[in-house]
Point group: C3
Chain length 351, copies 3
């Protein structure tokens, strides 16, 4: 009787060009939105109120961009990263279409690179993953690379292929929703700051901190149907490297995004993921803070109402963000830094 | 570069008559209702089953009154109470219209009183807050007063204005939903007790106790988009007055309301908040019990099917409610009492 | 003034043939579904994606069978098991109709047996419980027996009536949804295993373990409006038999069902409950594992597309399931086993 258990793919199971259609499509509902609000406390007006979305010409509030990301990411886990040692990076991520409650998301990935590590025990797998809605439209497209264990250390190393990934998404390629910002009311968004008010080099301390509980990160990660074992099993993890369940890195992204409302309340869309690194593990009981820096500003072709800010967002654990913890003079990242994320967000222009 | 952080208003920022439109309108959904059920376990039939609501002539189950309250309250926090030392009281609260899933709530407040404290460091701010639906109809109207820090102790004290707030809502002003209770089935509500069965002075021990977890109160409070810092940040609060995250007082109100089902299962609407005080802090790990006393009964003009009970509900922590913990002979409240709430609820009449 | 508190029925309050209509009908929503996903992480495609359900001819994703069970079970608690010492068993359970978001569930029970224990302090109550939708159609029908305290040890023992309950549901009586599996895509379900691939005697280790938190099991149990005291009150339970809040046995069933996806991903419907026993208590902090054994396979009359597997699912706490913990040579169950559940599930045929 063949085993019926999915043990996931090991490094030697991947081939460049391989197509990985992922299981378990997922209808996103207002139930998911409510849970996401309860877990992260988002206050961006567009995602909070159908009336705000409708005033801008959308049918209703779209689902938070990062909730879309986490659901798509979750689908890739059983095929891509069940045997991962580390999630190494993201690039070329773009949110292409709004997702609404009632939409059904599915995902597939293509292997775009492979490189065995010199120790012969692991290798890096590069994938391009896309999330699609029920109409077959791509709503999210991103690349990720991850270090995967080999099943058999004697398996031969593949020809190394390292894809040439852009270190930033070209702002001319950003997809802005088809909306009209003419009627945007700053009172509703809770922020009077617009595109013109942000300057390259500006740093924003998001001030607040949020402590994470085991129940919260596990509920969030299950909501995304993400099955990575390290998040859920204290019986095993208690005997592991950290002695603790490890929190899904995406949990810190979502917390940082919610904390970022204070200072970036009008940054209603995440348009692109230029890059990102989960630089240190987090555990239940940790308190997360975040700060952001404006790396670039960009006008959008044909859009007088919206501009793009390229933001670097840094999250720390158990250390307030007011001193902007970062890399030191020696180039080493402060050990309190747990996330270093580079995104494009869209912000209304003063018009 | 001006700071983009909302530091909230300090006592000297308020003016009597000041209008505070609050940010982040919020579409309430069945997702919120499900979470509220999971957090508090409400069993009132009208809010639980669309079929019950429809049998009474409503389009579907309305959203729990206190969930409406918490969402509206949450919107006021960034403008009213971000720098609060203490939430002092409520008065003249009325629930005026049912709220249904799909409705979008927004809120605004008017400053109706100011009184600096003699220490010159803080003052009391009185506000009248209203919650509105997407049609601009007021669904909730209440007054609250709160002690707020001054930013600058040298700022001059304003002329004191203390509003004259009624110590109870006139029952003739209560808004009963336009329903017909002719077909109400006591089996469905789980309670055979009706208006005529309750007597002034009667005390009801609600018997059960519920222990609160950190994940629960934080998820609830974020669901309301309430950003008060003391509820979320153990890193800071661990060094603070209590060494613990403080639980939002409204969490205790909702728990008490759910506990109150046992003895008051037919009390399907909260119609008014006469007053309320959060008399001691609560923390994760505390077990909440509650008891109620009937303070008054009132017939409603033109309604033969419904009557109003004025209830005083007292919640205790880590002390069963069977001995009706209360003020002692010396007038001091028992330190185990954490909530003292005065409401009008509507109850079917025997007809 | 008569007490208005529901103290529940005691053993001597039950009569054979007694009809117990239960309170608080409950409209199930996508909010409940989202919470259930967050709590258990189910990945069965049919329940996850409306598109999958629609491709099979259903209007949308049905609600997970066990969520339906828990909601119906929860309604029975105030009348049947508020004074229970132990939940002893289940038999003859059948899921008869899909439940969809928007449906309203109600429940009633009939007492089908009574037997006082020789100690004169407790007795076993047997009930047949049914869950109905808003059209009065039965969606779930099951028997359960439970040990209940007597209020008065001197109350006379009733004539013992022990119903003759089948030890398995006849597979010819299973209700399969009216769907067409012609278009089922194994990629979507995440499992290429079909009816023909499972053999009697086959054991499947579901591999993964999940640690339970207090907030999670309490939120789940409240979501079902299950009011059994032992799950919620640490203040009382801390002084009780275990010193801990006891986790609702149904929580372990749902966890096992979700864990079972790994190896049984195509087993999209639970059709029947042949029997089940909660063999040891579980507490927050426990990590649950599960394994299953195929006890029988059965073709379904007139269905070439679907077959039934009779599964025994055993859950353990803090012990991986790879060694298939079970009864020993002495017939005693391993103390790490917490659930022993016997169900029929429906699985697509290779066609």
């Amino acid at each position: 009787m063949a085993t019926k258990i999915n043990a996931g793919n090991f490094f030697e199971d991947f081939r460049v060009g391989q197509d990985l259609p992922h299981a378990t499509p997922r209808t996103v509902t207002t139930g998911d939105v409510a849970l996401y609000t309860a877990l992260f406390g988002g206050r961006y007006a567009l995602q909070s109120a159908d009336t705000v979305a409708q005033a801008l010409g959308l049918p209703r509030s779209p689902v938070d961009d990062w909730l879309v990301f986490h659901i798509v990411f979750g689908k890739t886990v059983p095929d891509v990263s069940l045997n991962a040692v580390a999630n190494l990076g993201y690039a070329q991520g773009r949110f292409l279409k709004p997702v609404y409650p009632g939409d059904t998301l599915s995902a597939r990935s293509t292997v775009i690179g492979l490189k065995e590590n010199s120790n012969g025990k692991t290798g890096t797998v590069y994938v391009n993953s896309v999330g699609m809605n029920q109409h077959g439209e791509t709503v999210l497209d991103y690349c990720r690379w991850v270090m995967i264990r080999k099943r058999d250390e004697n398996a031969p190393a593949p020809e190394p292929v390292v894809p040439d990934l852009a270190n930033r998404v070209d702002p001319a390629s950003l997809q802005a929703p088809a909306i009209s910002l003419a009627g945007l009311d700053d009172t509703l968004t809770g922020s009077r700051w617009r595109f013109e008010d942000y300057a390259v080099g500006e740093r924003i301390d998001h001030v607040d901190g949020v402590t994470i509980e085991e129940a919260e990160h596990m509920m969030a990660t299950r909501l995304y149907q993400n099955t990575a074992k390290v998040h859920f099993n204290q019986h095993t993890e208690g005997q592991g490297r950290f002695g603790r369940r490890l929190i899904y890195g995406g949990h810190i992204i979502s917390l940082s995004r919610s904390l970022g409302f204070n200072g970036l309340g009008s940054a209603m869309w995440v348009a692109a993921i230029n890059g990102g690194a989960h630089t240190a593990p987090t555990f239940a009981g940790d308190t997360i803070y975040a700060w952001s820096e404006v790396l670039e500003t960009a006008e959008l072709p044909g859009r007088a109402d919206l501009g793009a800010l390229r933001l670097r967002t840094v999250a720390t654990k158990n250390r307030p963000s007011g001193d902007f913890a970062d890399k030191g003079a020696d180039g080493k990242r402060d050990p309190d830094v747990v996330l270093d994320l580079d995104t494009w967000v869209l912000v209304p222009r003063r018009g």
